[in-house]
């Protein structure tokens, strides 16, 4: 089917503003991705998958400028022992980064994977993204594969002693960054990947994760506080037998965020947990779009998303569990909840199930409402001032999502950030 004219025009405009890096061995994958973009067209307002989020500023040729937000708060995770990989406005900064040496893991820059002839990387780059284009199209991810200017290839073969921390600094008001990371976790290997920072005025990030049988990946992300930043991120994860993938995202501020998670459970007994907490105030639009495919027996998936919204903020959740024929004994769970702190904010949700196997337990729930007056009254009757009580109940509401983080120290850091946010908004 031919593309609608507006989509085609917008797509061509965007493409003329980009140049494909001279990328050697990823060239083929990039060219294939480019033809996917041309075929699909970049998302437009009328696309069903973008029903609740306007994609225009994410696809425009020029990135809308975003002021750099200065604050004296230390960067998140700074008190943790970790291997730092720093990108400034989407460009790798060797000076700010640690040596990319750590036992049990091999880290290379994307542009080096060819000269070092790293086979696994060539076989992964753009592959999971291409798989993830069906049944729903994700043109921004294909655009990323074609034009990514930087990124890392992380090969986990053992159990590194500390987390790998990707830090995204935002310094230029007009930066438009496209990063693409690939991660391969080998059999029984285990790694924790941290991501934080606002990254750029406009950030398009794609991460492809391939977890072999028995491998484990923990992912904790905090998207930076710059008010005017925009981000479209994709995580494509393929999981083997008994693989474990746990991902949590904290979002505070940001005028527009669209986080897509595409998880495919291809081996039996795999476990995938995807969760997120977001707090938005004012000009804030946050969209979590999750697509989990069960294609093996006895797998478990969980989606837990909580959103606190005020002063006209908008929260979006589009979640889907697809259980393919034969994926028996699937345990799928999905919950999306919003707490609307005032009458101007809104929550838009589309929690979907598509099930082709009969011996499964899948459930989903979605709720939206204000702070529970009875609970508030209870706390006040015990002498807690209204503002404190509201904060307590808000934190309690978010707790279910934060509890998805296994590492208690990391969870504590997230909770303290949420407390700070509440305190600032008094």
């Amino acid at each position: 089917m031919a593309l609608p004219q507006p989509n085609q025009t917008a797509t061509e405009e965007r493409l003329t503003s980009l140049t494909m890096p001279d990328a050697g061995c990823t060239r083929k994958a990039r060219e294939a991705a480019l033809s996917r973009v041309r075929e699909m067209g970049l998302p437009g307002r009328r696309d069903e998958y973008w029903k609740y989020t306007r994609p225009d500023t994410l696809v425009s040729a020029e990135a809308p400028p975003a002021a750099v937000f200065h604050n004296d708060e230390p960067m998140l995770f700074s008190e943790f022992d970790r291997l730092k990989i720093v990108f400034v406005d989407g460009v790798f900064s060797p000076d700010a980064s640690d040596e990319l040496e750590l036992e049990g893991v091999k880290i290379d820059r994307l542009e080096d994977i060819c000269c070092k002839d790293i086979h696994w990387a060539k076989e992964l780059y753009g592959v999971l993204e291409a798989r993830g284009q069906k049944p729903v199209q994700r043109p921004l991810a294909a655009l990323n594969t074609a034009f990514a200017t930087d990124g890392v290839a992380i090969h986990v073969t053992g159990k590194p002693s500390k987390p790998i921390s990707l830090i995204y600094r935002h310094e230029s008001e007009t930066s438009d960054a496209i990063l693409h990371h690939i991660v391969r976790v080998e059999t029984d290997a285990e790694v924790t990947i941290l991501e934080n920072g606002p990254a750029a005025s406009r950030f398009n990030k794609c991460m492809e994760i391939d977890i072999a049988d028995g491998g484990t990946l923990h992912h904790i992300r905090a998207q930076g506080r710059d008010h005017q930043r925009r981000a479209a991120t994709h995580m494509f994860t393929r999981m083997g037998s008994e693989a474990v993938y746990k991902s949590f995202t904290l979002t505070v501020n940001g005028v527009l965020t669209r986080n897509e998670q595409v998880v495919e459970l291809t081996g039996d007994d795999a476990v995938a947990h995807v969760s997120g907490a977001c707090v938005g105030d004012g000009d804030f639009h946050h969209d979590d779009t999750v697509f989990i495919t069960h294609d093996a027996v006895n797998c478990e998936s969980r989606q837990v998303f909580k959103k606190v919204l005020r002063n006209g903020a908008t929260g979006v959740f589009q979640g889907k569990i697809l259980v393919k024929e034969g994926a028996q004994k699937t345990d799928g769970y999905q919950i999306s909840q919003s707490l609307l702190l005032d009458d101007d904010s809104q929550f838009l949700a589309k929690p979907e199930l598509e099930i082709y196997a009969d011996d499964v337990a899948c459930s989903h729930g979605s709720t939206s409402g204000a702070i529970d007056e009875t609970a508030l009254f209870y706390l006040r009757s015990r002498g807690v001032p209204t503002e404190d009580a509201t904060d307590m109940l808000t934190l309690a509401f978010l707790a279910e999502a934060v509890e998805e983080i296994e590492d208690e120290d990391l969870a504590d850091v997230i909770v303290s950030r949420l407390k700070d946010w509440l305190a600032r908004r008094r």
């Binding site: 702190l341 099930i355 459930s363 709720t367």
Partner: protein, 506 residues
């Protein structure tokens, strides 16, 4: 039913459920009536639209209305978003108008109607006699006479055959007749309300219906009147290659009440047939409308041959404050179902309810659900949907709950459960939830374990184990839905009561 017999049923789904679904899968209404028919030429174009209008002896404004709809229809595309797949429909390879020859001159009373037609309805269990006892309803003779009256409007292919109890209803001030009659006899009412709930350009099928609808039912209940009996329309498709396009318009004026039932069947044929209906309901202040459907169109054979393509637009507009509408549907037929009975809750304190049991078997596909659009303050809605899928069938719940910024203090509760019997079928849920104010509460759930804790506690206190207690509460609830149906439909639907909801998925 071979497909179901060979199916490995997983533990936890009891035999009763399987049998009940199997029973539903054998189509009892597949015979046809051999009767001389009169057809309009095949296909649809402005001339056919004019012809239908002419056959119904319609005034000029109605013809124009239809032609405008047709003009619009040629400009819109068939929707493809539903999870249903079927070969492309050739809209020019259908008859849009078919009526029994004997109906050429409209019979003045039921006595004059062709006995063959009466026999058809008799055989379907819908006697077109103003009799007190409903055929096939055991124990009905013990009920008080007033409680068992049902007025029936019978639609056969493109025309209404007759309407019973018209005189008695007239005494109460209720108008119940075919829509073709209403256009002639009550043009002001029709003009005022037709197309105000489902506009001409609403969607592909509704627009087509607006252009070519041949008949249907019309109900007007005046202010303060409680309709003295149940009203019902029975749709029968008989002719081959013929689409049925009926239009129903129900107006419940201030403080009135009416319960309306709809039933439908069709003969067993190898080729698929099209059915595209529009139902519009207007509910004024303090009025209440109950609309119940047992949809039992021919579902096609086990290989997916034949069956009815059922594309229906049903919508109720709760215009007045404290108005109330309730949709109850038992969907067992049709090869393809595309149907979303909706409520627009415009008046403050208005209420909308949607209860649905959708059963698909063999190659059937159903994409059904509801839309609850909350516009007024303190509006309430409840959605309960049970989907059961067997054989190679696909069953989708698709719904929208929308709380507008002005719909303060509104409530919605949604529960959709699905049950799969066999591993070749599918069950899907596609809910859209839009909350635009914070004083409203929206809850969407898809789990069977969520029965009322108090009731559970009560049962357990009396010595039942947890499972028994849950079964009792869930079955009790299911019965409530079915009992909301009128008696003659309850008979048909009763076989479904045995279906337990154990082993459900959300």
């Amino acid at each position: 039913m071979a497909a179901l017999d060979q199916t490995q049923v997983k533990e936890g789904v009891d035999q009763e459920t399987v049998d009940a679904v199997r029973e539903v899968g054998t189509y009892k209404y597949g015979w046809d009536t051999d009767i001389e028919m009169e057809y309009a030429p095949k296909g649809v174009n402005p001339d056919i639209v004019r012809l239908i209008s002419e056959k119904n002896e319609e005034p000029e404004w109605m013809t124009e209305w239809r032609l405008a709809a047709f003009e619009r229809w040629t400009k819109i595309d068939e929707p493809t978003w539903a999870m249903v797949h079927y070969p492309k429909i050739d809209f020019q390879d259908q008859y849009y108008y078919a009526r029994p020859k004997s109906m050429e001159v409209k019979p003045k009373s039921l006595d004059e109607v062709d006995p063959k037609l009466l026999a058809t309805y008799e055989k379907l269990g819908i006697p077109l006699k103003e009799q007190m006892i409903l055929a096939g309803v055991e124990g009905a003779e013990n009920m008080p006479a007033e409680g068992r009256k049902v007025a029936v409007d019978a639609v056969f292919d493109s025309v209404s055959v007759g309407t019973t109890f018209q005189e008695e209803l007239k005494k109460a001030g209720v108008i119940f007749c075919s829509i073709s009659e209403a256009i002639k006899e009550h043009p002001d009412l029709v003009k005022k309300y037709l197309g105000t709930v489902v506009p001409v350009s609403d969607n592909f099928y509704a627009t087509l219906n607006s252009a070519v609808f041949s008949d249907g039912s019309f109900v007007y209940v005046p202010p303060g009147v409680r309709c003295p009996m149940e009203l019902s329309t029975y749709f029968r498709i008989n002719a081959e290659n013929t689409g049925q396009f009926e239009r129903t318009l129900i107006i419940a004026d201030k403080g009135s009440y009416v319960s309306y039932l709809e039933g439908c069947t069709a003969p067993q044929r190898d080729t698929a047939q099209l059915h595209a209906a529009v139902v519009e309901i207007i509910v004024e202040e303090d009025a209440e409308v109950k609309y119940s459907t047992v949809q039992n169109w021919f579902p096609g054979d086990e290989n997916g041959k034949g069956g009815i393509y059922n594309f229906v637009t049903k919508r109720a507009d709760c215009r007045g404050d404290r108005s109330k509408v309730m949709w109850t549907q038992v969907e067992t037929g049709s090869a393809v179902t595309w149907k979303y009975p909706s409520c627009i809750l415009r008046g403050d304190d208005s209420q909308g309810e949607f209860y649905s049991i959708a059963i698909t078997n063999n190659m059937q596909q159903a994409d059904t659900g509801t839309k609850m659009v909350h516009l007024g303050k303190n509006t309430k809605s409840r959605i309960v949907s049970k989907g059961i899928s067997a054989g190679k069938a696909q069953n989708t719940y698709r719904g929208l709950v929308s709380m507008h910024p002005k719909a303060k203090n509104s409530r919605n509760y949604t529960q959709c459960d699905s049950l799969l019997i066999g591993d070749k079928c599918g069950a899907h849920t596609v809910p859209y939830i839009e909350v635009r104010n914070n004083s409203s509460r929206v809850e969407h759930e898809a789990t069977t374990s969520k029965v009322d804790d108090d009731q559970l506690f009560y049962c357990r206190q009396r010595g039942m184990d947890e499972e028994e207690a849950v079964a009792l509460v869930v079955n009790g609830f299911c019965k409530d839905v079915l009992q909301a149906l009128p008696m003659e439909f309850a008979m048909e639907a009763q076989q479904l009561v045995a279906i337990s909801l154990e082993g459900s998925v959300g």
